[in-house]
Amino acid sequence: MERGLQIRDVSRRYGRRWALVHVDLEVAAGEAWMLLGPNGSGKSTLIRCLSTELRAHHGEVLLNGENVWIHRARLRKRIAVLGHQSRIYDDLSATENLQVWARLGGYHPGLEALLERVGLDPARRDPVRTFSAGMRRRLSLARMLLKDPDLVLLDEPFTALDPAGRELLMGVIQTLQERGATLLMATHLPSVARAVCSHAMMLESGKVLYKGDTANMPSEGRVEP
């Protein structure tokens, strides 16, 4: 069985508009790739296809040799996503949120330690409704860490994070990589992501413009805001 992620000829449309067009990518286990491209280039759609939130209209995605859509019920335990939305409940506290998600997923982590790791220990009993955007992002990160993932998908992960939060996220990413997780990060900040990502794929209008080493990446400036 081949370890890592294979994206084979994946296309996806919304109505008549194709958001992804024949995307191919091979990512070895433990590798980290950044996804670059302007707004509407298909980065988030690709992340959603990989996470099994959306079904590709053409092609297939394999994780460790298994088709993620066909085996989604089982593989979702191995795929962690940090997306645009926090996916947490405002009326519950940080601890209660993590308890809910841990129980539903059958995970048994040390919640106190997890909250301490993301810097939310002092606010663990406060309702999430009172949290700032950065604190919500940290809680989403803790929620993601409940899983022990083979594939980590990050969509604009630095949004709302302060410098300390960014540093925390980078540390988490490095730990996940050391454990052998494959990582894809959609970002508009290649200069920040370069610290953890060795490879990049650039998309435009759903098509692949470039894939390869970050060192040889062309015209990086056109995608950095």
Binding site: E53, R55, R74, R76, G83, Q85, D91, R103, R143
Partner: protein, 224 residues
């Protein structure tokens, strides 16, 4: 993890969020109570008030249930938690049963508070068995909650969900409304012909079908 355990965890989550937003439950109650009062005011002949009491109770609960169901999904969509559930290793059937049981419990609570008020305002008597009345309320509320939870998922992300949900749900729950109203009326008036068990059987069969269908279709709808 077993389906039952996941369903119980989902139910626990639903009840915890409902408890934290108790104003939502009271909102559902006041909405149902307002409907009951309006029907009372709009009935020109006070002599027939007792005759329409059971129907008014269930009409109030039916309309209030759409608000309750709408709110139940609003919480899930507020920060994309519904998508989070979909991508979490949770059986969609467990999501359905957890949500549907929680919705049924909220409706039962509202019904139990509303019932004595309807009896008082409409001058109804309870000549039949209180145990039968409780069974009608439990089965009737469950009969509204199961299809409501299923159709609520379909309409929750659509524009005009407040209109769409009743349009989809009301035709389906007509048999349950009919059975609940008739059974309640028979308990109010007394039941010398022993018709209540027959109506309860209708409700039980309706529940069996709707709770089974809901569990079966929910995952398919959630993925699509």
């Amino acid at each position: 993890m077993s389906l039952l355990r996941q369903s119980l965890h989902m139910l626990g989550k639903e009840l915890l969020t409902e408890w934290r937003q108790r104003s939502r439950i009271s909102g559902v109650f006041w909405f149902a109570f307002a409907i009951v009062l309006m029907v009372g005011f709009a009935t020109p002949n006070s002599g027939v008030l007792a005759d329409v009491s059971a129907g008014t109770l269930w009409l109030g609960l039916l309309l209030a249930s759409t608000r309750s169901l709408d709110q139940s999904y609003a919480v899930e969509h507020e920060h994309g938690a519904m998508e989070g559930l979909m991508l979490w290793p949770v059986d969609p059937i467990a999501i359905f049963y957890g949500k549907a049981v929680a919705n049924a419990l909220v409706l039962i609570l509202v019904a139990l508070v509303l019932l004595p008020l309807v009896i008082a305002i409409f001058g109804a008597d309870v000549r039949g068995s209180p145990a039968q009345l409780l069974a009608v309320i439990v089965l009737g509320c469950a009969a509204l909650a199961a299809p409501g939870t299923l159709y609520g998922l379909i309409t929750s992300q659509a524009r005009g969900s407040a209109v769409l949900l009743p349009l989809l749900m009301f035709p389906v729950v007509v048999p349950a409304l009919l059975a609940s109203s008739n059974a309640t009326m028979k308990v109010f008036e007394g039941d010398p012909m022993e018709q209540v068990p027959a109506w309860l059987t209708v409700l039980a069969v309706f529940n069996l079908v709707q709770w089974s269908l809901g569990g079966g279709f929910y995952g398919w709808l959630l993925e699509d």
